[in-house]
Symmetry: C2
Amino acid sequence: MSLYLPVICGVIALFFAFGLSKGISKESSGNDRMKEIAAYIHEGAMAFLIREYKYLLIFIIIVTIVVGVLIDYKTAICFICGAIFSILAGFFGMRVATKANVRTAEAARHGQKKALKIAFSGGAVMGMCVVGLGIIGLSILYLGFDKNVSFISGFGLGASSIALFARVGGGIYTKAADVGADLVGKVEAGIPEDDPRNPAVIADNVGDNVGDVAGMGADLFESYVGSIISALTLGAFIFTDSPTKVMFPLMLASLGIIASIVGILFASNSKNNNPQKTLNTGTYIAGAVVVIGTGILSNNIFGNFRVFGSIIAGLIVGMLIGKITEIYTSYDYKSVKKIADQSETGAATTIISGLAVGMYSTMIPILFIAVGVLVAFYIMGGANNVSMGLYGISLAAVGMLSTTGITVAVDAYGPIADNAGGIAEMSELPSSVREITDKLDSVGNTTAAIGKGFAIGSAALTALALFASYAKATNLSKIDLLNPVTLVGLLVGAMLPFLFGALTMESVGKAANEMIEEVRRQFKSIPGIMEGKSKPDYKKCVDISTAAALKEMILPGIIAITAPILMGMLLGVEALGGMIGGAVAAGVLMAIFMANAGGAWDNAKKYIESGENGGKGSNAHKAAVVGDTVGDPFKDTSGPAMNILIKLMTIVSLVFASVIANHGGILLNLLK
Amino acid sequence: MSLYLPVICGVIALFFAFGLSKGISKESSGNDRMKEIAAYIHEGAMAFLIREYKYLLIFIIIVTIVVGVLIDYKTAICFICGAIFSILAGFFGMRVATKANVRTAEAARHGQKKALKIAFSGGAVMGMCVVGLGIIGLSILYLGFDKNVSFISGFGLGASSIALFARVGGGIYTKAADVGADLVGKVEAGIPEDDPRNPAVIADNVGDNVGDVAGMGADLFESYVGSIISALTLGAFIFTDSPTKVMFPLMLASLGIIASIVGILFASNSKNNNPQKTLNTGTYIAGAVVVIGTGILSNNIFGNFRVFGSIIAGLIVGMLIGKITEIYTSYDYKSVKKIADQSETGAATTIISGLAVGMYSTMIPILFIAVGVLVAFYIMGGANNVSMGLYGISLAAVGMLSTTGITVAVDAYGPIADNAGGIAEMSELPSSVREITDKLDSVGNTTAAIGKGFAIGSAALTALALFASYAKATNLSKIDLLNPVTLVGLLVGAMLPFLFGALTMESVGKAANEMIEEVRRQFKSIPGIMEGKSKPDYKKCVDISTAAALKEMILPGIIAITAPILMGMLLGVEALGGMIGGAVAAGVLMAIFMANAGGAWDNAKKYIESGENGGKGSNAHKAAVVGDTVGDPFKDTSGPAMNILIKLMTIVSLVFASVIANHGGILLNLLK
């Protein structure tokens, strides 16, 4: 019975998502104008997905063949499942999100509470799909392949591949549209944000869904399954006699699903008027349920509280990183205020101080991760039993991600509220509606920043856990930095996040330029567009973003996938180990740096717009707008892309571990 | 006899420097106005040095006591010598540079060739002092302490400590003055660069000497002696029976000194009218002499050409990195032109594209370093004899740095030419003079960028070589990334360059703000200052830069010195090994990223000023000025500071290796 518990919990999650989705559908989607705009956004989002699927189909076929031939057919099947399950989670999540946005706007006519509930329910569908599909897929494959864990890394590879498309492609999409819409619309034409006369406005709103809902969901889906895969793999090596203990990570994930549902129900029905508090309380309740449940589980299955300690270490580190992110990126704290002050002397000082804040903000999260890793390792007795210690680290990752259901819900709520505001603006709803959606949106900005911090932390811990699995899979006894080959791997690995950052930022620049030219063209060539008499060609802008995003993610994607294979084949398993180490270290740092610098610039601008440092239209404000524009690709494209890079490289190494171990190191052999 | 050859070559270098210096002193220092301005700059530079020495005295006393008590008195003596020799090199170099500047300006009245010769001779004094004092100090201590290499790491620590003050403090100084002078003078008051009415103009010119002459010299002095120390240390472990072989790195350095002198003589007496070509040819000739001489030495001492291969690998990688740096930062190539194009859409796109160029530019240098490391290791037979392979890597570092004499000369020539231009402007010399100094200055910008690339490459290789010595000194058999403690070290180590970057950038911001306020105050409170009727208070501005630079470098300095000791004491030698690995990897990347982004922004602005993309005064130009201002602390403060960070951390670890190996890992023992 307990074998099927994870599947049952997964099914419960999907039913819960279905119920939430039905509830949203029942709500009114407002007047004709609102329906029309919502339809544009919905169609745009689906257009992106369908175009993406075409690319994905080719990609999946190629990788399936490669994996099937080089590894085995079971891993290939796992890969296909991982890819499809991630696609499904993104599809359902985005479908419901693009329904919930207009209904949130309509509900805002009748007050904040209902609007919050709909937006949050929309996000919760994404959250539940992520955890439900993740656990169902993993459990069925694990049980279906006779509890042999050696194939399920393929599931992680599938999840990672989709995350690459969704997060990197989505990140380029959303920022190309955003920057394009802003630079021509706001700056050149002088029309407000979300103005329906701006041809890029629909693409901008679609981008929120593509990048912040589907992209973020796929990113966390990858972390979620990656951490479980790592714990299952390591557990199978250790507990050869106890399938129950091997299954433990799945039990823990099941507990997290129940905890998330409890938290979501609480938040949805809260009487509190402060949306931030409502969401926080829901998250804390879910965390509390996990803590209590884990204590019981840990004691029942392992007969002690060591496992409990590792898991709680992960959970606490995750929450702390979120909090730290808030401190560096919210304008209630001094870092953002300092950037606003520095904006008074012009754009250069805005940029310098923002970069400094971003770099500075890496310190505490890294120290937290370091402490978390040590606690998780040593509490499991890692000093005497390294394998158990590494297992502890992987459990910390699972623990951190156990409440992914509600984390994604809170995170995906933001773009829905943002979209609702856009729809309200474009449909010319009364300003009271816009006030409510603005308030919800501003809470969404904070939750987005926290969610980003969490995504980075979880990516780091997941990658470290998978790194340990990689070493087990290749039978590596050490990855020795005194071996120059490892050192070379380390240097090259550390370089990849910089290369990835450069490529993705340039991609946003290129795509945004195409968008800018198209918007300018429409402003010039469509008569009556500025007077609102004739409609802009939204579809063309959506097309441009879609095509550019998918084209531009090919090169970074190829680099992320081939670099580890190339390194392994040329310089062998140990060099590849060094490369992963370097990529994870530099990648996590670049991710925190870029995400927090971007978040801080964004809020420095908002702070000034709230009337500080001269307020809107002042020179400080102009400087802050420059910071915000630089921050856009930082926080929404390149920063999050690092998560994908480090996880994808690690899982590729794990999947191809046997091939590299047996046939790798070609150049090394020549050098000898 | 051959034992004393290095000392003799060192003495030759100093005599050569003395001769050059005499030659410069003989030249005319122009009219009274020129003499007056030159005196201001000279006094300002000396004021900085004297104030710095007060801090240094305290610092040296403390560290001497710590080293004397914890390690031994011989290492402490070496430390004092290393510090004093580096101070002397900086003192002589800067003294002559502040004499050469005005004489270059005066010589420019009589044509470019003579001006070039004086400026280059001034730089050559710095170069010869660096290599001469470096090799004399090392040789005498090595011979004096009975050829026992275990103490001379103290010499490296001394050199590193001074480099910290000179490079980080100097970097903050020069950019505070530069940014302060530009923002109020050029932007607010609308007066041209180097205008004598600007109170910060002298501080700005002093900054060129403090940061670009003394700072750069101390940085390369540190790399130079660090690489030799590493090779001596490793050689002593390997060649227990052959003092000649142990001495080899000193012989190689001697050869490099002769080669540099040949190159300098050639360049000084070249008939070529193209200054860039003249300097390049000198460098290549020095390189060729090293190549030929090394081939002979290698065969004579080791009986084969393996050693030759390692050394040449280092030399070639150093020159290639310089060339690559030029490609990414010179406006003859497409990266800089792209930034200029992107400036047409405003400051935000200038910044984004510059950051992307900087990140992108890390790829090739890292791959070159990787290849160089592998070649140097395997050509020495590292596959079968790891120690020999590591020795090969340290020889590659010595090889790369063998021509430091002429490299520093070419590099220090730039700020002298820059100063000459400033003096010409302030003394209202005919525009033909300014044209010549401008041409020399623009060549200086390219050589500075190349020099920066070289400094980074050499810092990386030196740090890697010292890293190998550290492992030997602590008897570490491995630094295993599968040990979570090493992984934690790696993460924390990789974080430090980000922290260092944040701190140094903030320091520039703070110091620049003080400068801005002072300049504004003087413009307001000194009547007739804008009409040129009354003199600004230059000294006050020099004071502000000096005080701020020395105050602001304390915190980063303490972090760089204490972090490795703290990590070693808490988590042990292996964690410290991981930390160095992480710091070197991330530090090199950040250094390349920041230096090249800054260089590219600088030249994008110059490219636009040359009439492209709308030319001076256009919107593109305004955007490019923002990029240049952000780039200033990037390329001249934070970027170069990374070199110091990684070398200082490594040498601290090496010096305290025995203490950490015997008493470290306190927390680790508690966790067990």
